[in-house]
């Protein structure tokens, strides 16, 4: 049975379909693997094999997703022990497709972070180097897939929270088009940016999972689903496709990462694709706009954690205001409090136009940049992260340095467009991620191109022994 460890989710699904193994055996295997996690990747692991485990391997679910009766805390002490009374649509879609919930994975508190060090329940170690971060905020999901304690996982991406940890852990991470996957039951961070997506061992698994996840949901007014069913990728060549490379000359891009990405551009040309440099004049302001819009929305989204109805309530209070203040002061971590304050300030009367208004204008500009780019090219490609996995504690004292981890991933959610990160090689012995973004609803085409590249790159090393 240990040979399941080396197989992709899609291959395991084939084995279940052919009757070579049962769904229960597959579930049991992965339950055992998850129970052995020693990276801090899991916050909760299912103890019982479900009566009907389904025809897909089980899935590790970021703690941010509500699962009925299963602890769901979004990595926050303020929701410690909270048991949802309903299940997120995305998780239900996976269950209905035959993937049972394997466990809940660690994350930065309320998805705010790029290293998983902001979790209320401790950090996650990168399986490639236990002294380094797995990235974030979906750090637990990425580490679990990379370490082989989960066959696949879901995470959420607001400014890079799927793609950046996928990059740092050497796996595939897809952020779908805004609206492709229902947000109902995903504990909100920044509502206009949050999107659920797969973290998988390869591109085919990402497509297989996206097929189950996507769909219009009557419980989410902003959901649309995808206009066409997701096809499994099959491209071997990239003939006729034009790739616009962005950001390789950026200051702050690690030379080793740049080198691996340049080699990947060569691979594109070897496969028949065209590569050209592309300008995204406003994308460089993405981080600034993001750190106004996302905290602003978060300041309202996180206001409901007041100790009145569920979750943590401070024992120290004399009156209503004291209960609110102490509950939130004690329940939230430092980064969450920082962003609530930034967001509250940005929305304040007298500052709204200067901050929120300006940020929304930058957002429109970035969307226009991409629209213009997609008139010239089929895809925009960038490094996913400016660096490989950094050391635990390296950036915790410097929030701005931490924020810049998302430099290449923030523009896409601001524009609402899909992007995938695939591993494209190693630098200093650590994985480098390559990002491919396309126009809204181009997931199948992005995954097809990523698949062709993945085959020629032949990245190995996951699961990390």
């Amino acid at each position: 049975m240990s040979d399941l460890l080396g197989l992709t989710a899609a291959t395991q699904a084939e084995l279940i379909a052919s009757g070579e193994v049962s769904g229960a055996e597959v579930f049991e295997f992965w339950r055992g693997r998850a129970a052995e996690d020693d990276l801090g990747a899991y916050l909760w692991v299912e103890e019982e094999t479900p009566a009907d485990p389904g025809r897909l391997p089980p899935v590790a679910v970021k703690d941010l997703f509500c699962v009925e009766g299963v602890p769901s805390s979004a990595g926050s002490r303020i929701l410690e022990g909270y048991l949802p009374v309903y299940t997120a649509t995305s998780v239900r879609n996976l269950q209905e497709a035959g993937a049972a919930v394997l466990g809940k994975t660690n994350q930065d508190e309320f998805a705010m972070g790029s290293s998983n060090e902001n979790s209320g329940f401790g950090p996650v170690q990168n399986p490639w180097d236990r002294g380094r971060v797995p990235g974030g905020s979906s750090g637990g999901s990425a580490a679990a897939v990379a370490a082989g304690t989960a066959p696949w996982a879901i995470g959420t991406d607001t400014g890079g929270s799927i793609r950046q940890p996928a990059s740092l852990c050497g796996i595939v991470g897809l952020k779908p088009t805004y609206g492709a996957v229902s947000r109902y039951g995903m504990i909100a961070f920044a509502s206009s940016l949050d999107q659920c997506g797969p973290l998988t061992r390869d591109v085919t698994d990402a497509a297989l999972m996206l097929r189950a996840l996507e769909g219009r949901d009557p419980c989410d007014s902003t959901s649309l689903g995808l206009p066409e069913a997701v096809t499994l990728p099959s491209a071997e060549r990239l003939d006729g496709l034009r790739f616009g490379a962005w950001g390789l000359a950026e200051e702050g891009l690690d030379p080793g990462v740049a080198e691996v990405c340049r080699r990947t551009l060569d691979r594109i040309e070897e496969l028949g694709g065209g590569v050209q440099e592309i300008e995204l004049p406003s994308a460089g302001h993405g981080i600034s706009a993001y750190y106004v819009v996302a905290p602003a929305e978060a300041s309202a989204n996180l206001a409901r954690y007041d100790g009145v109805r569920y979750g943590y309530r401070s024992p120290h209070y004399d009156d209503l205001l004291g209960m609110y203040e102490n509950t939130r002061a004690e329940g939230f971590g430092e980064e969450v409090k920082r962003r609530i304050m930034i967001g509250t300030y940005a929305l304040s009367s007298g500052y709204y136009e200067a901050y929120y208004g300006t940020a929304q204008k930058v957002r429109s500009k970035i969307a226009q940049d991409f629209a213009a780019a997609f008139e010239q090219v089929d895809f925009v490609v960038t490094p996913t992260s400016p660096t490989v996995a950094f050391e635990l504690g390296e950036r915790t004292a410097d929030p701005l340095a931490m924020y810049l981890s998302d430099y290449f991933t923030v523009p896409m959610p601001l524009a609402g467009i899909p992007a995938v990160s695939i591993p494209c090689g190693l630098s200093e012995g650590l994985p480098v991620g390559f990002q491919i973004a396309g126009p809204a609803f181009s997931e199948s085409r992005i995954l097809d191109a990523a698949y062709a590249l993945e085959r020629t790159i032949g990245f190995e090393g996951v699961p990390v022994p």
């Binding site: 909270y82 909100a188 007014s221 300041s299």
Partner: protein
């Protein structure tokens, strides 16, 4: 101080919140609550559990469009919701989803008053404070009932076009009647399905610019609205007379004490940090939605009053009463359809005799059928039955139903015939020689004694005027 000597002119605008009578809440599938056990009409969405999302209630949008069209507003091609942020236990999300700078409807008019805007939002939960104060400060404990939380609300804001407390109350009643007629709300002020705030300022008569306004919150009847505005206008006048200045503040009117207390000043005003609600897409009414909303509009009270006055020549007050209480108007017009000969008399019977019997109730809920009322009124007009006897007949018809002629027959209430009446009059003349003497001596008032005797004898089945004529004829006057 009377209106005539007033140096200051009040300027009043009102804001009305109306709970919509939809089946479910504004942003979730919970049914609306009508006094159910606390916290039984709730779900993860209206309790603001983690991860939930709002979905706009299509019926509430439909009602909002009906109201906008009824008030002659411009309907926004695309309007959006905002989040209005504040911490309070009645708001589980800690923000209210409301409309801000792009409301569903703008402009419009009802009667002489211009409508500024109409927008959709959600109601808060209900707080119950234990302890003597009845308010959150000083309460021993407070509990929250989330049944009301998320009930659809429409807020209607007027321009500052009202110039007296009485005008404000009158406008409020017209708006209430209009909304009730449309069936979009129960508009019950005591139960809080209609709530009124007033913005009040005064200015020297003839001045074009407005003075500083204060806001009077949540008066739960139009009578209290009127008294509250009067008290506030008086307070502002006195303040200015003493050389003081008006502070912008929110006030609470205590109808029992007749006093005003400040809830908060401008400095204490909240910064609600409004921003567009990212969980909802813009509301863009389609042509079909507008057609459907327009088709759902009944004839509205103002139009009905105008029609009744014009077509049936009813007095303005009568036409208004029949229109503002549409159940009376409906009963009246159904009766009129059965017999259209006596519109005025029928209207008087409806608003006087019928309302005396049913109070605030709906006459359609009694045993009386509208055509039966028309028949009874026709019999009065044709002098087949006297007015006073007809009132007795009406009481029987309301309680038991049936046909007026049969009731008259059964109870012996038919009008006394000429022969019978002649005999009775002869007897009265014979029995009251003193009175006859006085009449002949020119004391006309003395005829009352004879008429009274006849009326006693006929038990009200005769008409006083007719009896008087007959007496005079018999006495050769």
């Amino acid at each position: 101080m009377t209106e005539a000597v007033r140096q200051y002119e009040p300027v009043i605008g009102i804001e009305i919140h109306v709970q919509l009578a939809t089946r479910t809440k504004m942003f979730c599938g919970c049914e609306l609550s009508f006094g159910e056990e606390p916290n039984t009409r709730t779900c993860p969405v209206c309790l603001a559990h983690p991860g939930v999302l709002p979905v706009t209630n299509a019926e509430a949008v439909h009602f909002g469009l009906m109201i906008g069209l009824a008030l002659g507003c411009e309907i926004a091609p695309s309007s959006i919701f905002h989040r209005k942020n504040y911490f309070y236990p009645d708001s589980p999300k800690a923000y209210q989803i409301s409309q801000y700078d792009i409301p569903l409807c703008t402009g419009g008019r009802l009667g002489d008053v211009r409508i500024h805007r109409v927008h959709l939002e959600e109601d808060a939960a209900k707080l119950v404070h234990a302890g003597s104060s009845g308010r959150i400060h000083g309460a021993e404990s407070s509990v929250v009932d989330f049944n009301r939380c998320g009930t659809p609300l429409v807020e209607i804001v007027t321009e500052p076009d009202l110039r007296s407390a009485a005008e404000a109350a009158e406008f409020g009643r017209l708006l209430q009647a209009t909304l009730r007629r449309m069936g979009v709300s129960d508009v019950n002020m005591e139960e809080g399905s209609l709530r009124v705030d007033a913005n009040v300022s005064i200015r020297p008569a003839g001045q074009a610019s407005f003075g500083t306004k204060t806001e009077l919150k949540n008066m739960n009847s139009f009578r209290f609205l009127e008294r509250g505005i009067e008290a506030e206008v008086a307070r502002q006048e006195q303040l200015l007379a003493e050389g003081g200045t008006i502070q912008q503040e929110t006030l609470h009117f205590d109808p029992e004490a007749g006093s005003l207390t400040s809830l908060r000043s401008k400095e204490e005003a909240h910064d609600y940090r409004y921003f567009p609600e990212p969980d909802l897409v813009p509301m863009a009414p389609t042509e079909e939605m507008l057609v459907r909303a327009r088709a759902a509009l009944p004839e509205l009270p103002a139009a009905r009053a105008e029609r009744l006055e014009r077509e049936l020549e009813l007095p303005a007050d009568t036409a208004k009463l029949l229109s503002f209480r549409s159940e009376l108007g409906d009963f009246y017009e159904t009766a009129l359809a059965a017999d259209s000969d006596h519109p005025r008399r029928l209207a008087n019977w409806t608003i006087n005799e019928l309302t005396a019997a049913v109070g605030d109730g709906d006459p359609a809920d009694t045993k009386l059928e509208p055509p039966v009322l028309a028949r009874l009124v026709a019999m009065v007009a044709d002098k087949q039955v006297s007015a006073s006897a007809a009132r007795e007949v009406l009481a029987v018809l309301i309680a038991k139903g049936g046909d007026p002629a049969q009731v008259i027959e059964a109870q012996g209430l038919g009008r006394a015939g000429e022969e019978e009446l002649g005999d009775i009059v002869d007897r009265a003349i014979a029995d009251n020689p003193d009175a006859v003497e006085k009449i002949r001596a020119g004391k006309q008032q003395a005829i009352g004694a004879l008429v009274g005797a006849v009326m006693r004898e006929t038990k009200g089945r005769a008409d006083g005027g007719e009896v008087q004529q007959m007496i005079r004829a018999k006495l050769g006057e």
